[in-house]
């Protein structure tokens, strides 16, 4: 889930009318000082960082003057994990409360949790003072009205004006949870000030990754919980995924492998199988440089892009692909994507590829056939070879591997610069070029026959040529599934006259022409 920092969380609360401490966000020491001056000197300086336990780290500073605020901001902003601080008014606290809207996975419905004790962690409160914590499941179709909310506060002994005020606040909190597709939205503490105001002193908001598309206003760059600010490769990977709904491609960089010797690019398929495969890898003394998952039957083109991202991880000693072992996705497509990437980039580390499941025989054959001449060895396995066995094989290959004194030139399946007059058509995420001059009647027929969707045909007149049997528009819209079978077939026939150009995005997206994917 996409977690928002305190400042952004508070903006959500503000938009539904929940009162906040006066204050704002500052990225520089100067801005922080100005804010402190506006607040009259005494204020709170809080680090805006995606970590838990800020108070324990000393990342929430109570200060009495603008000078002290400046000093606090200087110290906090020097921490690499702190891109900004929030400077806000000091509250004079009479009482503190806790409130959160969460999803109860057991009941499959939202639940509001409220406590007359705020400040510390809710688990602690619930353990030590269970009588002061109430939970109320909410019927999505009925709303959570102000009187219902006030009633909830009343259940833990809150009366009078505070009860009414909390009723309004909790009602708004639920509305914010609903409006912004939150997984969870928490205020701890809600402060009742000595002059009787109810103020959200902190905020934890987590937005549902799958609903981020409905909320451009939140400016969430990468709708995934990766535990750190996304780096360049992660942003590139996310751009690939964002523009291609076919199957899933998930990528997180787990560590910076620049200096270590045991890092391996990890290419999984499916959550459970991937975790198990990573365990196997670690048992062999490797560290996964990343987590990657291509599943949900992605086309070869998507697996190709994933492999290209993985091969650009610095300092890897090997490439390990392994999922559950018995996948229903078309594994030969994954093999096609891997082969194209390995050959275009010139694989320089040993790879063990376990593509068990649907049509694995074809996947294994493809890998064996097309990776034979690469600098580094590639071994391919199927469902009857366990992840553990495959990790052992990788260990052996990595230990024994002697890279050539000079790396060979990459051996792409086809040259990227086919003649200008080649036959070309666009696909969902790329372009296919066919140099017609090299076909014979037999080879043209063989290429047409290898297309699983039968979208190609042999031209009616001599000389032999291969062309679309459907409209270019249909091919672009997805009738060409980008399985790469034709490019591999042309390579196998010794023609190398079909090139599929699949551009990679930068961290800011694809070049303008490829926008619509």
């Amino acid at each position: 889930m996409a977690r928002l920092d305190e400042h952004r969380g508070k903006q959500l609360l503000d938009s539904v009318g929940i009162a906040l401490p006066r204050g704002d966000r500052a990225e520089t020491v100067t801005q922080a000082r100005q804010l402190a001056e506006q607040l009259g000197g005494a204020c709170v300086v809080k680090a805006l960082a995606q970590v838990t336990g800020r108070a324990a780290r000393g990342w929430v500073r109570l200060v009495d003057s603008a000078d002290e605020a400046e000093q606090a901001a200087r110290e906090l902003l020097s921490e690499p994990e702190v891109p900004a601080v929030r400077v806000e008014e000091k509250l004079s606290i009479a009482r503190e409360f806790f409130a959160a809207v969460l999803v109860d996975d057991r009941a499959g419905q939202p639940v509001i949790v409220f406590s007359s004790r705020g400040g510390s962690g809710i688990e602690e409160i619930a353990r030590e003072h269970p009588e002061d914590v109430v939970r109320q499941p909410i019927d999505l179709r009925r709303d959570f009205t102000q009187p219902m909310a006030a009633e909830l506060a009343g259940q833990v002994g809150i009366i009078g004006k505070t009860r009414d005020g909390l009723g309004e606040l909790l009602h708004h909190l639920y509305w914010a949870w609903h409006r912004y597709d939150c997984r969870s939205l928490e205020i701890n503490p809600i402060v009742e000030t000595t002059d009787g105001r109810l103020i959200a002193a902190d905020c934890h908001a987590a937005i549902d990754d799958y609903a981020v598309f409905r909320h451009p206003e939140l400016n969430i760059r990468i709708a995934r919980e990766i535990g750190h600010e996304p780096n360049e490769l992660e942003l590139i990977a996310y751009e690939v995924e964002k523009h291609d709904y076919r199957g899933t491609f998930y990528f997180i960089q787990l560590a910076d492998p620049a200096t270590a010797a045991n890092f391996v690019a990890f290419h999984g398929a499916g959550g459970g199988g991937s975790m198990m495969s990573m365990d196997a890898l670690m048992k062999e003394g490797f560290q996964p440089a990343n987590f990657c998952d291509t599943s949900g039957n992605p086309p070869a083109s998507k697996v190709y892009r994933a492999a290209k991202v993985l091969l650009s991880l610095p300092g890897i000693a090997g490439y390990f692909a392994s999922g559950s072992g018995v996948a229903s996705q078309e594994q030969w497509q994954s093999a096609n994507g891997l082969v194209k990437a390995f050959r275009e980039l010139g694989l320089s580390v040993p790879a063990v590829i376990r593509l068990g499941g649907n049509q694995e025989e074809r996947a294994i054959e493809t890998l064996n056939q097309f990776c034979a001449g690469l600098d580094a060895p590639v071994e391919a396995y199927g469902k009857d070879d366990s992840a553990r066995f495959c990790a052992e094989r990788l260990r052996k290959l990595v230990d024994e591997y002697q890279p050539p004194a000079e790396a060979s030139a990459p051996q792409p399946l086809s040259p990227a610069d086919l003649p200008a007059d080649a036959y070309r058509f666009k696909t969902f995420s790329g372009e296919i070029a066919i140099d017609q001059s090299r076909f014979t009647a037999e080879t043209a027929q063989a290429v047409v026959a290898c297309c699983p969707r039968q979208i190609l045909k042999v031209g009616a007149e001599a000389p032999a040529r291969v062309e679309l049997a459907i409209s270019p528009e249909d091919a672009r819209k997805g009738k060409c599934i980008e399985c790469l079978a034709c490019e591999l077939k042309a390579c196998e026939l010794g023609l190398a006259n079909i090139h599929i150009e699949l551009p990679m995005p930068t961290k800011d997206g694809y070049a303008a022409e490829g926008e619509e994917r």
Binding site: Y210, A211, E225, G271, M282
Partner: protein, 307 residues
């Protein structure tokens, strides 16, 4: 007899004209599923695999008679409306294959399912297979390979991980343990029929003599199963493997919905609850078939149903 889908029940596909819809309709039919038609708004009157396509589920039902289940192969943002449409047309089981369905949409579907007395599998599910009879969703690939992968037998299989569902069934089959029905409950944190619901159905299913469950870190599905065993609502032997040894707290590995929040839903906690209730925990995935056979033997259960 099987769980989830009554004998001879009619099944449709929503999104039948799409890339996955066409492919999966063919595969499901090939395996024996009684698919009678499909729906894609705006494509009414067309045919896919010789099956009629309708503009709405209501029209489909009006034409073909009662339909029990619908498999959805449509983009995630459209899932909520399509599922509610299916329920209002009388569908009793929606198999929601798409990944990335917004959580709040799932919660609304959950509330609606209660109102309609309907169920849904998923979202983010590969579906389910009743060995040699039918498949709903996208498990198993081609019929010929699915028949090779999944062997008939007496064990009910339920899993939270898609890939692992097929793997478990396959490795069990290789080890001589066949299955009745194999269910992927879906990878998300909130799903229509979580482990405890599936386990209850296996308990009620005569053909199923024991249950094999693949659990994961996060959520409380496995703990709920432990409660069912403790309270005597589930009496059949249950063998469980809980994945996620390597997962760091707070890190989410892909769509697995596997997240540990605030110490709840840990692997250790789940194993402890299940073991205490009397379930058999398998520590090494490669030993799943072996342990299952031992449990069956200890309970005097034959590997194949004599009927």
């Amino acid at each position: 007899m099987s769980i989830l889908l009554p004998d001879n029940a009619q099944v449709i596909v929503q999104g039948i004209t799409g890339r996955e819809g066409v492919a999966r309709t063919q595969l499901m039919k090939g395996y024996g599923t009684n698919i009678v038609g499909g729906v894609t708004p705006g494509r009414g009157g067309q045919e896919v695999e010789g099956l009629p396509v309708f503009d709405s589920v209501a029209e489909c039902v009006a034409e073909l008679g009662e339909v029990f289940a619908s498999c959805l192969f449509i983009p995630a943002p459209l899932v909520k409306d399509a599922t509610l449409e299916a329920f209002s047309a009388g569908i009793k089981l929606a198999v929601i294959v798409p990944d990335r369905v917004p959580l709040h949409d799932v919660l609304e579907i959950k509330a609606a399912a209660k109102d309609y007395g309907a169920d849904f599998l998923g979202p983010n599910t590969l579906g389910c297979v009743n060995v040699n009879n039918w498949v709903l969703g996208m498990m198993g690939g081609r019929a010929e390979s699915a028949r090779k992968f999944f062997k008939p037998g007496v064990v009910g299989v339920t899993s939270r991980s898609g890939g692992i569902t097929s793997s478990m069934a396959y490795y069990l089959g290789q080890g001589g343990v066949g299955a009745t029905t194999i269910v992927h409950v879906g990878g998300d944190s909130v799903v229509g029929l979580p482990h405890p619901e599936i386990v209850k159905r296996f308990e009620a299913d005569e053909a199923t003599k024991a249950i094999v469950m693949f659990g994961e870190i996060g959520g409380s599905q496995e703990e709920q199963v432990a409660e069912l065993i403790e309270s005597g609502q589930v009496t059949k032997p249950l063998i469980a493997y809980i994945g996620g040894k390597g997962a760091k707290e707070g890190t989410r590995f892909s769509h697995a919905g596997a997240i540990i929040e605030g110490g709840r839903g840990t692997r250790e906690g789940k194993i402890e609850a299940l073991a205490k209730a009397g379930a058999t925990i398998v520590e090494d995935f490669d030993k799943l078939a072996e342990v299952t056979k031992q449990v069956l033997a200890a309970n005097g259960i034959a590997l194949a149903d004599p009927q």
